[in-house]
């Protein structure tokens, strides 16, 4: 029987062929995720250095990123999500299993034998929607990979920001220590002036108050250093108790930024949440298309039955089970699919606007920080250095006193603190711009920002007894 022969072919070959198209990748899509991340400017270690090798040196921003990729527990959780997606792909590429039925029915008629029925049935609607479902599952898996890569990049960006915050806190703290030292020296001097009978109790108390405030500022700074180290440690997946260190260099901002239009275009291509949302909408559009025709199918079951009648006659042949869409045309499925697509398209529109505005805001943030760096570098820092130098000249000519000199030195240190803060603000803003654009901004190549710090050997006293003997 020709029809029977074809039926078996359809039943056996088609599912196998389709299942072959939807193989689950052996790495569960990890390589694709790595590629997405690498395409966005983050270096993914293929055969990278081991963790303990990375931690022997003070961490640079790039080394810290490597540590995050290797060691951040949250990233492992994100990557684990790929397994769910792979499971969906697997499931979508498979038909429901065929069912087998058998019956042994004894007749009570005399002389009649047992009716034996053997049947096998295959849910045929599944077979019809299989290619569409497999395609959608792949698209959803792609969306998932984008989403996972996006999560990884968000974590890397967080780590980069945490890194700069910690470096800034450390550098600022060095300055606060010096400010506190200047205030402590003013108190020490004031005590000498007071002991000599040259200043009154009030003036001494004022110096003590100023020094105490500087101490508090220093302690508050120490707490900030601890907090930012803890935040960075969490992202690095390391213990704060460990001996790992960060490199304290802060590079000056590069000469130029990329043009805004370029960054906006880049964001439209590169933002992984946008890519994922677009893919998701595509999937839902496909699903709607499939629902439009598949809802008429209802449940279709194709089967084959072989029956041995009680009289010994043998019956065999295909069976079909069809749902008649008389009372229910599964319009609910259609409505759900339409609504879901509508939601996704609206979400995509909102996200697109958010991305565009986000890029502009982040770009403005970068430019603002950069402008502040320039004001510090070109104006405030040299001006404060001048104030100190000119005050020193006035002290040399006995036109003003040592307390004012220490005061202006503390002001200069405060300006240096602001400068370092603005440089780290710049790098943080740049990391945020990378987040907004969806791609890491090319790495810094500026000169490191250094603050003068007089050498210890300048501290020898060459003059203390000068006026004593001719």
């Amino acid at each position: 029987m020709v029809s029977t022969k074809y039926f078996w072919r359809i039943c056996c070959l088609l599912p196998l062929g389709l299942a072959g198209c939807t193989t689950v990748p052996s790495d569960l899509g990890r390589a694709d995720v790595d590629a997405l991340i690498a395409e966005r400017g983050w270096s993914v270690p293929t055969q990278g250095p081991r963790l303990d090798a990375l931690l022997t040196e003070p961490l640079t921003p790039d080394a810290a990123i490597q540590v995050v990729l290797i060691n951040n527990p949250g990233l492992q959780a994100s990557l684990a999500r790929l397994g769910f997606g792979a499971a969906d792909v697997y499931a979508a590429g498979r038909l429901s299993n065929p069912s087998f039925s058998a019956g042994w029915l004894d007749s009570d008629a005399v002389g009649e034998g047992t009716q034996r029925t053997l049947g096998v049935a295959l849910p045929f609607a599944d077979l019809l929607t299989l290619p569409a479902r497999a395609g959608m599952a792949k698209a959803e898996f792609a969306a998932l990979k984008s989403s996972v890569a996006g999560e990884v990049i968000a974590t890397l960006t967080d780590a980069e920001i945490a890194f700069y915050r910690h470096v800034a806190d450390r550098r600022v703290q060095d300055i606060r220590v010096r400010r506190a030292t200047a205030a402590a020296l003013a108190v020490e001097l004031a005590a000498r002036f007071h002991a000599a009978g040259n200043i009154n109790d009030r003036e001494l108390a004022e110096q003590r108050a100023a020094a105490a405030e500087a101490q508090l500022e220093r302690l508050e700074g120490a707490a900030r250093v601890q907090a930012s180290r803890a935040r960075l440690a969490a992202l690095l997946g390391l213990s704060t108790a460990g001996g790992w260190q960060v490199e304290l260099a802060l590079a000056a901002p590069p000469e130029q930024e990329r043009p805004l239009a370029e960054l906006e275009a880049l964001a439209r291509q590169q933002r992984l949440d946008l890519v994922a949302a677009r893919a998701e909408a595509d999937v839902l559009a496909q699903r709607l298309g499939v629902t439009r025709w598949s809802r008429w199918l209802g449940d279709i079951e194709l089967g084959y039955e072989r029956e041995r009648e009680t009289d010994g006659a043998r019956l065999r042949g295909p069976t079909v089970d069809l749902e008649i869409p008389l009372f229910n045309q599964h319009r609910d499925d259609l409505l759900v699919a339409e609504a879901t697509l509508g939601q996704a398209v609206a979400g995509l529109t909102a996200l697109t606007l958010e991305v565009e505005n986000g890029v502009r805001l982040a770009y403005a943030g970068v430019n603002n920080a950069r402008a502040r760096v320039a004001v510090y570098r070109d104006n405030l820092i040299p001006a404060q250095a001048d104030v100190v130098a000119r005050t020193q000249e006035q002290v040399n000519f006995m036109l003003t006193g040592v307390f004012e000199l220490l005061d202006v030195k503390r002001d200069e240190l405060a300006a240096q603190e602001g400068y370092l803060q603005s440089v780290s603000d710049y790098w943080i803003a740049r990391a945020e711009l990378g987040r907004a654009v969806g791609a890491r901004q090319p790495a810094a190549v500026g000169e490191p920002v250094e603050m003068e710090s007089p050498s210890e050997d300048a501290g020898h006293e060459h003059h203390h007894n000068h006026g004593g003997s001719p």
């Binding site: 001097l189 000498r192 002036f193 000249e393 006035q394 000519f397 003003t400």
Partner: protein
């Protein structure tokens, strides 16, 4: 409008050159009066310290002088300059000299950016010539030239200065002296006749223009707009009769002390007083707006002559800075130097060490700032500034020699000497 340059070129260069005579190599301001040519003019001309006398032109029996009010680049001491206002290129302006009974016409050209006038301080003249802007005359606007003309009814030492925007114009140096010699000569002959004006300046350390808003806390104190050691010495031959005519256009009184002599206060802008009114003094306060003549017979030696307000004999000083006297900064100084490598503790044992630092130059001061203490004499640092100069009297000086004769070579046995360097030397009586 006549610029200062064309004015000098056109009308008076020749006259000035004639008047300059022998210019000392140390001269700071180019034109200055020559050694007096005896009584050739009918009077012995004054010598304006670091200054000069304005030549005149006779026109129909009137002595015509021409003053130009203008901005000048003034040097208080070598290397320390400021944008000041003055007359004919200098502050103070040139000294006007004439004789009692002369008819004088003084042209005043205003090359300043604002109006001005000149008040002839102490002169007896018609009200309309008295120079108070708005009261006696319209102010002289920028670019205008006014003529003052009057007959000199008196003799004596006088001054001129603006009576328009006085706070500004006097604060930045507009002033000059007006000397009227008695017709018929002096009753007691004067051999050397010096004049100078006392003034104060708010030239804050590091700035280049005097600040007219300061009323008391001045930075510089000057004789004829110079500070020691840039002030000319008073040079005389032993036994000569020396007169100093000292006017005060500053905002403080100045007790002027001359070492080595008892001088007589002999006159003022009221003229030379009758001899019975002369007073023997060694210090005379020349009050604000006042003028005093003092006379003495020169005694050989180098003698200080200065305002006795101690801070008026200092250059730029800090006002109310922390008092470091007796403050031991050992240890702290080294720590401070770690933050401020240029820091040096000073003043623990007094300020005398200061001149050594500033002279050595290893701890530079603000730009355009004259150190508080300057001057080096034959025995060490003089540690002075401001209103301080030296009366240098020598036996062997020519009658017309006004050049600085150098340091006094004291006769053997007449200089204070060290007899011990042991602090416990001798048995001084102390109050118990």
């Amino acid at each position: 409008m006549t610029s200062r340059r064309t004015f000098l070129k056109g009308t008076s260069v020749g006259a000035m050159v004639a008047a300059v005579g022998s210019v000392s190599a140390k001269a700071q301001d180019a034109p200055r009066s020559s050694a007096p040519p005896s009584q050739a003019r009918g009077y012995r001309p004054v010598r304006t310290l670091n200054g000069w006398t304005l030549p005149f032109v006779m026109k129909n029996g009137v002595k015509e002088f021409h003053l130009v009010a203008e901005e000048v680049e003034h040097e208080f001491a070598p290397g320390f300059t400021a944008k000041c206002w003055g007359y004919n290129g200098s502050t103070p302006g040139p000294t006007i000299e004439a004789i009692e009974g002369d008819r004088v016409r003084i042209l005043v050209t205003n090359c300043l950016p604002e109006h001005t006038t000149i008040h002839w301080h102490g002169l007896l003249l018609p009200s309309g010539m008295d120079g108070v802007g708005g009261l006696n005359q319209p102010q002289i606007k920028p670019g205008e030239t006014f003529a003052y003309e009057f007959t000199l009814k008196q003799h004596g030492s006088h001054m001129y200065h603006p009576h328009a925007d006085e706070m500004t114009q006097m604060a930045v140096g507009m002033m000059g002296m007006f000397i009227i010699h008695p017709r018929g000569g002096e009753t007691v002959t004067i051999d050397r006749d010096y004049c100078f004006l006392l003034h104060n300046w708010a030239l804050h350390p590091g700035t280049y223009r005097p600040d007219p808003s300061i009323m008391q806390e001045f930075d510089l104190w000057t004789f004829n707009s110079k500070v020691f050691p840039a002030i000319d010495p008073i040079v005389a031959r032993s036994g000569e009769r020396v007169r100093l005519r000292i006017g005060n256009l500053s905002m403080w009184n100045h007790p002027i002390h001359v070492h080595g002599v008892q001088y007589f206060v002999t006159g003022s802008d009221g003229g030379r007083w009758p001899q019975r009114q002369w007073r023997a003094e060694t210090t005379e306060i020349v009050s604000v707006g006042q003028l005093r003549d003092i006379e003495f017979t020169a005694v050989p030696g180098d003698w200080a002559m200065h305002c006795h307000m101690a801070h008026h004999t200092m250059n730029a000083m800090g006002h109310g800075i922390p008092n470091t006297l007796g403050v031991d900064q050992t240890g702290v100084e080294a720590e401070i130097r770690k933050l401020l490598p240029g820091y040096m503790a000073m003043g623990e044992h007094g300020m005398a060490e200061h001149q050594e630092h500033t002279d050595a130059g290893h701890h530079p001061g603000p730009a355009n700032t004259i150190p508080m203490m300057t001057g080096t004499g034959p025995y060490g640092n003089i540690e002075m500034g401001g209103m301080f100069t030296v009366v240098k009297v020598r036996n062997d000086l020519g009658r017309r020699d006004y050049d600085d004769p150098g340091w006094y070579d004291a006769p053997k046995g007449t200089v204070a000497r060290r007899v011990s360097d042991d602090p416990d030397f001798g048995n001084p009586v102390r109050k118990t």
